[in-house]
Amino acid sequence: MQALRIFAVSSVFSYRALFSWLRPSAYIANKLAFPLLQLSFFAMIGTFGGAQPLSFYVLGNAILVVYQAMFVVATSVGNERWEGTLPYVLASPAHRVALFFGRASVHVLDGMLDVIVAFTFAVVVFGVDLSQAQWAGLAAGIFVATVAASAMGLAIGAASFLVLDASFLANLAMFVVLLLSGANVPIAELPGWLQAVAWALPLTRSVEAVRGYAAGADLLSGLPLLATDLAIGLAWAIGGYLLFSWFEERARRMGTLDRV
């Protein structure tokens, strides 16, 4: 019960700390307007390029709105040091697994809401046809993509303790995902070594599955793709937790907790 309480508290606090949301305008600007504008930009370039139908770009970028969850999870973990609260977190007796993974849970729900808004935008503004959509599959795809993106955010947040600030790393990850997840460029068109990177991302298969479900594909056909992304996302999160644990152990041993 104690671990569950810490999981919930950690989750809620990490959500409330985001973007200094003192006003709804900050939420609207950062969480809603920015990703929709980015979606529109890449959809328009795709239209100009003409290599794929418009729905390819719009749906790909709509599902990629989950990078918002990745971004906020990464910064809420990584910014603990910048905000000066990391020593308090690490000095607490709280269970580390609950504390670390709790950071992501509310963002999964919030991220799903972002994607639903993006799909509504795709239908209303770009006229994407979802009349044949496999809705259960679409919902599963959105859920898996959001969980996977949040898991990636945990890893990036932990990595930011060692490398750079979390915002820089999360922004970098966002552009890597835009290029390599198949949302804008078909994976087959990438050079071989970039394809290997693309398949290691926990969103690549979700993009493919969601496109299929939007076109009415059978529910079972996309489940292996989603299961693989879920597994890869879990691997990213566990990697992040191990990094976090290693950082904590090293910081205690060497007194480098606040080293920037």
């Binding site: 006003r23 305008s25 900050a26 600007a29 950062n30 307007a33 920015f34 504008l37 980015q38 529109s40 930009f41 890449f42 328009m44 370039i45 795709g46 239209t47 100009f48 390029g49 003409g50 290599a51 750079l164 600030d165 915002s167 820089f168 922004n171 970098l172 552009f175 890597v176 835009l178 290029l179 804008n184 460029v185 068109e189 990438l190």
Partner: protein
Amino acid sequence: MNVLRILRSGAKLQLGHLATDRLMLFGVIVQPFFIAVTVMFMLRHRPDFDPVYVVIGSAVSGLWSTVLFSGTWIIGSERWLGTLELVAGSPPPLMLIFAARLLGTMAYSLLSLVLNYTVGAWLFGYELGLRDPAGFLVSLPLALFALWCVGVLLAPIGVLWRPVARFLTILEYPVFMLGGFMFPILLMPAWSNGISYALPPYWAAEALHATSSGTTQWASLAAVWAALLATSLATLAMAVPFYALVLRRARRAGTLALT
């Protein structure tokens, strides 16, 4: 001479700040790099694909991102650092001081142009020749001037109205689209074309695209340059009263240092 000295020292100071600012480094180098690579892949199937168009478009996107973030935060950062009172109390006009700082931003943002040429030439192996080098040499400083004018306008707005400032930073992608950086504005809804024509970044991109990859007819190019100059000067003129308002509000309310 005094003005030149202020411009030089302000630009130098700003370059020093930017050299250690990771967010700006991201905006100038990392983001345009990824945009250039992604858009190269997206547009290369077009029969009339021109890599120079992508290189210039993504470079202008880097220039715009730098001006947008630097401009909206340049006065606010003085507040955070606790130096705004010293700046406001110094003899030179406030507008001149921040205009000088933004000159440094423009110089820094040129990195974006260099980097994007490298992406096109080295990473993709394209031959990137300028169709009209002489015209480009005229267009480049005019384009930088246009974006600098927008930065000068954004600076006081960023500190006068915080809710507005919050929305200013999301203007990044709308201006990418309305400015025709990566695709012609004819693809945008017709009602938005009027907005494009009023924006200096649109004319900046138009001048750079026309001289780097377009068919350059001097008569039409002169018209683009004239529009570029006119919108830039109008933007600069719009900025003047905002700087006066910053100082007036600060003196009347005594809120200069409030963050």
